[in-house]
């Protein structure tokens, strides 16, 4: 699907600062980083989770385990997808009793997060599941909210939000625009 840009709403520096702030908030809320596991939702939640983990490590001086989650098998709209690609899920740790932070680029309807929570619970019983997103664009369809938000971005349903990350797209930026 194509994308027509209306505005560039976050620059590289904005993303860097947002990641840094989210890392501080995670450490504050969880009183340190010792019991923490970050889990990125594929695709762009994965590099974001690595960046947050790095920032947390630099604040607290401990390594934070990072996992990646493919939610395809848990989606509620599978019947509408033509030939989705199922990628591997990797979780570094037994999740039993951990504070798990799900990381995604954009929070919209909340359905991806629902799927991610179901998947994570099949791997064990975390003490808590929290949610960090770079952009919250509103329009929830489920009772789900983020614990850590990089930027609240009011949008209309017709608009699209596109997060570009160096690891995937070659640049750091957030755009708002329309599907082409």
């Amino acid at each position: 699907m194509g994308f027509r840009v209306k505005a560039r709403v976050m620059e590289e520096d904005d993303i860097r600062r947002a990641v840094r702030r989210i890392a501080h908030e995670i450490v504050e809320r969880n009183r340190g980083a010792s019991n923490l596991v970050l889990v990125g939702i594929r695709t762009r939640g994965v590099p974001l989770s690595s960046r947050i983990a790095e920032a947390v490590s630099s604040i607290e001086g401990v390594e934070v385990p990072v996992g990646r989650l493919d939610i395809t098998l848990y989606r509620d709209d599978l019947h509408t997808l033509e030939q989705p690609v199922v990628k591997e899920t990797y979780l570094p740790h037994d999740l039993e009793g951990k504070n798990v932070v799900i990381v995604d680029d954009v929070l919209y309807t909340g359905r991806s997060v629902r799927a991610a929570m179901d998947a994570i619970i099949d791997f064990g019983r975390p003490a808590t599941i929290q949610l960090a997103v770079l952009v919250d664009r509103g329009h929830r369809e489920l009772p789900i909210r983020a614990d850590y938000v990089g930027k609240n971005l009011p949008t209309s349903r017709e608009e699209k939000v596109k997060v570009s990350l160096k690891e995937v797209d070659g640049e750091d930026a957030v755009y708002i625009g329309y599907p082409d």
Partner: protein, 312 residues
């Protein structure tokens, strides 16, 4: 595998898959083999779907493999085996098919002694049909799990050499395997005594009667089961004679390439087509094939049933 808009998708033989579909099945299977290592080996992708195993021929591992695969995707599974059902009372395939249609199942996995039975089923039923082996004709999921196993061991298969050894004439495993291996760009050999070879082999398959000459050239040695009935048909003089020329044993394995992969569709006749030591040697990928069977069948069921039906 991708049907025209709105068309049902089936897997009747390997040719139903375009090269990119083949790739997609193998890639998806890789992800499912990760699912099989999870504490909860079950995902909700086929919740609410019903899969029927319709088996007119005895089979342990294929039926169990399909059953486990479907259950791990959260589908409901019905097992219908010829000896326990009304087939004994003479119900025809067509009537059974119509019964299943009336029950509203989503997919039928069929094994049947008559070649072409899955194609008949597809004509009669408006459900997804998967061929789990028909007569001496085709066994596509076996071919796919074999490709998967070979790829795990050997990496890229293009240019690699495989020899199918044994009763090729009666083997649906070899027939579907030839197509699958050729599609991956492999060099394919058929090795057997003349009495166990079909009159015609597909284009691109090289025939040999001499196992010892072939072994040093191969990356994969695929041993086929030789049934005792073939002896009664006079296709070879004695089991001893067969194993003297065509059994893979430790002596012969010495002539093989270091990383050679030994495969067998099971169940093995130890001491006939394969010696017991070879069957238990690290070269043998027989157990890996069984594990791959579940992952590949999950991938096929998921891609045929779990995803959108329309090409939009």
């Amino acid at each position: 595998m991708v049907g025209e808009a709105g068309e049902r998708r089936h897997l009747l033989d390997v040719d139903d898959l375009a090269p990119e579909d083949l790739e997609r099945v193998l890639e998806t299977a890789r992800s499912f083999s990760e699912v099989m290592r999870r504490p909860i080996k079950k995902v909700p992708s086929l919740r609410g779907k019903t899969v029927v195993n319709l088996f007119y021929e005895p089979s342990t591992r294929t039926r169990l493999s399909f059953e486990v695969a479907a259950k791990r995707l959260s589908a409901d599974v019905l097992n219908f085996t010829a000896t326990t059902s009304s087939v004994e009372k003479g119900e025809s395939l067509k009537d059974t098919a119509l019964t299943l249609r009336a029950m509203g199942v989503d997919a039928v996995v069929i094994r049947h002694p008559v070649a072409g039975a899955p194609w008949l089923l597809r004509r009669w039923l408006d459900v997804t049909v998967l061929n789990a082996g028909d007569g001496m004709h085709a066994h596509p999921t076996q071919a796919l799990l074999d490709l998967f196993t070979m790829r795990e061991r050997l990496g890229d298969l293009e240019g690699k050499t495989i020899a199918y050894v044994g009763d090729i004439l009666h083997s649906r495993v070899a027939r579907s395997g030839f197509k699958a291996c050729l599609a991956m760009g492999m060099k394919v050999l058929a090795v057997a005594p003349p009495t166990l070879l079909p009159p015609v082999v597909p284009e691109g398959v090289e025939v040999s009667y001499d196992l010892d000459e072939v072994i040093p050239r191969c990356d994969v040695l695929y041993m086929l089961r030789v049934q005792k009935e073939r002896l009664l048909e006079g296709r070879f003089p004695s089991p001893q004679e067969y194993s003297r020329f065509y059994q893979l044993n430790m002596e012969r394995l010495k002539a093989a390439r270091p990383g050679v992969v030994v495969m067998h569709p099971g169940p093995m006749n130890r001491g006939m087509e394969i010696s017991s030591e070879v069957a238990d040697a690290p070269h043998a990928a027989v157990n890996a094939q069984v594990a791959a069977g579940v992952a590949v069948r999950m991938a096929v069921l998921f891609l045929l049933l779990g995803t959108g039906e329309r090409g939009d």
